[in-house]
Symmetry: C2
Subunit: 600 residues, 2 copies
């Protein structure tokens, strides 16, 4: 038995017996979600360390297919492929605007010599994105307006110091990204480039067979004018997408707004004098809602203290609202984090639980860098807040009269059911996986003199290039395709991404008629550009069918002695449950028709 | 002027005006060798840091072409592509046989958080090669003899803590490698796999248009049974290849031997009593050769002290010979280095310059781990050596009678003109660049129980897989192609590697007839699978010709108004000096013929 085809077929065809496809019957304990289980069970990847994976041959093939589709769409959009280094001298990042914000997610790289002394600052970092490199690389040489209007991209292994890697390739420490960067002469050109890239992204995700939504997104530490994320709806996602089917509005919850607070809402008039009252042991919004107080969360002002670049500031929300931390980015600090009780007490005069920003109650108001109130606090108008004295609160607090607000802004997390900002219909929320993200950066990086990314415009003036950046998680897209495309038996690959598109399952390898027909059909398919795997193993039919389903090859032909006796073979689509019998005489025509049905 | 083609052509064609090809007139000071200068001048790469480069679009294209040729040859040889992580948990290496020897050339990777404490041992390393990963990855699952007979490879960015990066991509800190690994059930199968890979290597380098030689090589820190290097002759190479045209013998000087010492050479008889004599101030072989001593280097025993895994040992050579440090690998130490004078003096009783291993003269012989004498010391027979007392030497030293030799071996560096070990003709030596290296590893890694790379053979016995490993420096191959293929005007790419194979230089862009013909010919070439760059820039013809020569596109068509008036265009091969005129009516036929002449 063994491998009867080796002598019949040219080596270019792939045989299961010569391949390495270690399928697993059981799902390894490390996998929590279906796509992660299937990556392991179908022999696509293996774990090397926490958040670090090796792609086995089938996985590497599928990954390369995704990358190649991406390359094609980038080329169609006029982008040029380049390859920047993964190990980057730290000074490039140190010269840029986000070293402090980003350094915790980057790995530092140093010499590993036994006696090497470790420097205080890293020599190199493994950059998770390359604005800090591409800006001086291109910007320093592209010095005329004629050099503008270029978009570059690379497909590269990237690294992120992920504290809690999860879900296989979804949140890994090492992953494959497509990252792109554009340089334009004018804001208008940059917007046109951004829109062209958005279209290329839509084409890419569509060709990958993904259902996705494009949403407005927060620009985060990347900065810039605006951005969109490409989201694959999935319960295992890390993000919440807020959307309205009526208006087409869609935004990451980090960015989403609602029409909850009417624009024309009048300021609430005071309802009485400020009144201090004892609330022994009460340190939560919920506790104040209970007897004997009975003050609803929507009647409370909630005060949260944060550090922005190591300066204390306060956020005021309705008691019933949650802070959306991403929205703190609008305040302009590079790094924000919750303040500790030890940092809060000397400034406010109390510990969390009794905090408030009523004028005159703050122990040392000069140490407070600002008080930022969410728009929805205007819905409270008059309410209750902490007295900055443990065990005491204040009532009849009037927003305009009493609170030391520096300015209002949008800081709360939108909730399902709130009115859409466009249609006023109730918003819906869906968990999703971010697979792509595009940013209109503007001049954030190019205005940095150290990067030299200025060009001379047609009038002879030095201008910073108007930039955009464009990311796709290639390995994450691969797993998202599995998360969306599987059933109880295994993966169901879309045609364009499948590691092999056609599997020919030979039930009686060694039988001349079966082998010959398999060869003829495999050759025919390969001439049409279809990748073919021939299952020539000496295994029981049940094992072969189970494995073919598990690894998810879109089209299967089954050739066996019993069928050939009746003059027929079987054809089955992985995505369909029925199998069809095809007379041997019509096998070639049927195969061609099947292949061509996928060409679109 | 500008870009008249944009509206005529489909976007898939590449136009210089839309491209990013920053050619340089002057060679940057950082470049020492021609290929490095041309990489920079032709706009293929830019330096990001010492030994760290970015590939610009033309460079990325050529690099990908080399990688793709390599992938094809690997697939033809039956190897399966996978992708292992670049960031590797350090414990994989720590479990293996060469952590101490290799850690100095590896970068260590740690979390870069501002407050992160650096561990004494690195969390991760950036592996320059992946035996430590692939052995457990494949070995732990491939558990039956039926799973053996597989070869895997990856094309991956690799990292090496290169102290003195040089020559651009030749000795870089970040580079692209193809690394492959084979697992076989028997030694015989492993040798057959090794030979198949050697053939694939020859096919690969031939398709890259390189003149190369395959030589016997030292197995170094990699270990294993035997190995071959693939060498590109070049004066800027790091290696010396010893070869004999007569016999076909070729070996890296690190490994090369000669027939200098006859096998049947009789031991020299003593010529007299040992005699101690004063040599004040004499501390070199050369000084002892001068008056008043006049003792030729070939009459002296030279004694060198080394540390092997921190134990002192001595090497004895003829005074006229040089040590080949790579040959110390045969002594079985993991790490060797020259001993310091401070380490030598207490054991030997003297500083370098007066050392010897004559019995009874060594201050503390118990501290000496061994004395290893080169075979050629037998040609000295009786000679002079240091007395282990500063300013004194010994004469009438008889090799057999007086020297405390533990064992003899091959430690000297072969020199040009010595007799070939096969033909006895004079050997020649040539500088060369190592572009590929294959090793028959045997069971060095698979016998390690921690890696679990044992399989059950047909008789039910657990056996370690017999392994091989196979490396190609993809980025180094790219630069070697330029080092071998250039002239005074720029690069001369071989057809298969060229970033574009055909350049159509349009001298009068915007002129309808010229644009139309350029489009027709470009489409014709692309249909034949040829990659085409159209130079549509509004530049003077001289600038366009100079740039085309500099970036080295193999075939150029020139279309201009003046030529078209005479009904002709120009065709020129980059590698040839003559240009030929082609009637417009015959242009398509001539282009097809030119393209097809390159197909082989």
């Amino acid at each position: 038995m063994g491998t009867p085809f080796v002598f019949l077929f040219p080596l270019i065809m792939d045989f299961w017996s010569k391949h390495y496809i270690p399928t697993l019957k059981e799902s390894p304990a490390e996998a929590e979600i279906e796509s992660h289980k299937l990556l392991l069970r179908a022999g696509l990847v293996r774990k090397i360390g926490s958040g670090i994976y090796a792609f086995l041959p089938l996985g590497a093939k599928a990954l390369e297919n995704v990358a190649d589709i991406c390359r094609e769409e980038m080329a169609k959009a006029g982008a040029l492929e380049l390859l920047m280094p993964a190990v980057v001298p730290a000074e490039y990042w140190q010269a840029g605007p986000r070293w402090n914000a980003a350094r915790e997610i980057m790995y530092q790289v140093n010499s590993a010599g036994e006696n090497a002394e470790l420097p205080d600052e890293p020599q190199f970092v493994l950059g998770p994105t390359h604005e800090e490199i591409v800006t001086p690389l291109i910007g320093s040489e592209a010095s005329s307006y004629r050099d503008m209007g270029k978009t570059f991209f690379q497909v590269q292994t990237k690294f992120r110091n992920e504290i809690r890697p999860r879900y296989g390739l979804m949140r890994a420490r090492e992953f494959v990204m497509k990252d792109g960067y554009s340089f334009d002469a004018t804001d208008e050109d940059a917007t046109a480039t951004y829109q062209r890239m958005a279209k290329a992204y839509e084409a890419f995700f569509s060709r990958c067979g993904l259902k996705f939504i494009s949403v407005e997104a927060d620009t985060g530490v990347m900065g810039g004018a605006f951005s969109h994320e490409f989201m694959v709806p999935a319960e295992v996602g890390d993000d919440d997408v807020v959307y309205c089917l009526e208006s087409g509005y869609a935004a990451n919850v980090e960015k989403a707004t609602s029409a909850l607070v009417p624009d024309d809402l009048a300021d609430a008039k005071p309802v009485g004098e400020l009144e201090r009252f004892a609330t022994p042991g009460v340190a939560t919004i919920a506790a104040l809602g209970e007897a004997p107080y009975g003050i609803g969360a929507e009647e409370q002002f909630k005060t949260l203290l944060y550090m922005g670049d190591e300066r204390l500031f306060a956020i005021v929300l309705r008691g019933c609202d949650d802070l959306e931390e991403a929205k703190l980015g609008a305040l302009g600090y590079q790094v924000t984090r919750p303040a500790t009780p030890e940092e809060i007490a000397p400034v406010m005069g109390a510990k969390p639980g009794s905090l408030g920003v009523v004028k005159g109650t703050i122990a040392d108001p000069t140490k407070l860098d600002g008080v930022f109130a969410d728009h929805a606090t205007r819905l409270v108008g008059n309410g209750v807040t902490g007295a900055n004295e443990d065990g005491f609160h204040l009532r009849n607090v009037n927003l305009s009269r009493d609170l030391a607000v520096t300015r209002f802004g949008d800081f709360r997390k939108v909730q399902a059911g709130e009115p859409c900002p466009r249609s006023s219909k109730p918003l819906e929320i869906q968990r999703a996986i971010e697979v792509g993200h595009i940013f209109k950066l503007g001049v954030k990086y190019s205005e940095n003199e150290e990067y030299g990314a200025k060009f001379v415009d047609a009038d002879g003036n030095r201008q910073p290039a108007v930039m955009g950046c464009y990311g796709i998680g290639i390995s994450r897209t691969l797993q998202s395709i599995i998360e969306q495309g599987h059933d109880g038996n295994g993966i169901v690959w879309p045609w364009a991404v499948a590691p092999y598109q056609l599997i020919i399952t030979v039930l009686d390898p060694g039988m001349e008629e079966a082998d010959g027909l398999a060869r003829k059909l495999a050759e025919l398919a390969e001439k049409e550009g279809v990748s073919v795997l021939v299952d020539d193993r000496a295994e029981r039919p049940g094992v072969k069918f189970k494995d073919a389903d598990l690894i998810g090859i879109p089209l299967r032909l089954t050739i066996g002695g019993r069928g050939l006796k009746n003059g027929e073979i079987e054809m089955k689509w992985r995505a369909e449950s029925e199998m069809s019998k095809v007379p041997v005489a019509e096998a070639e025509a049927a195969l061609l028709q099947a292949i061509r049905s996928q060409a679109g």
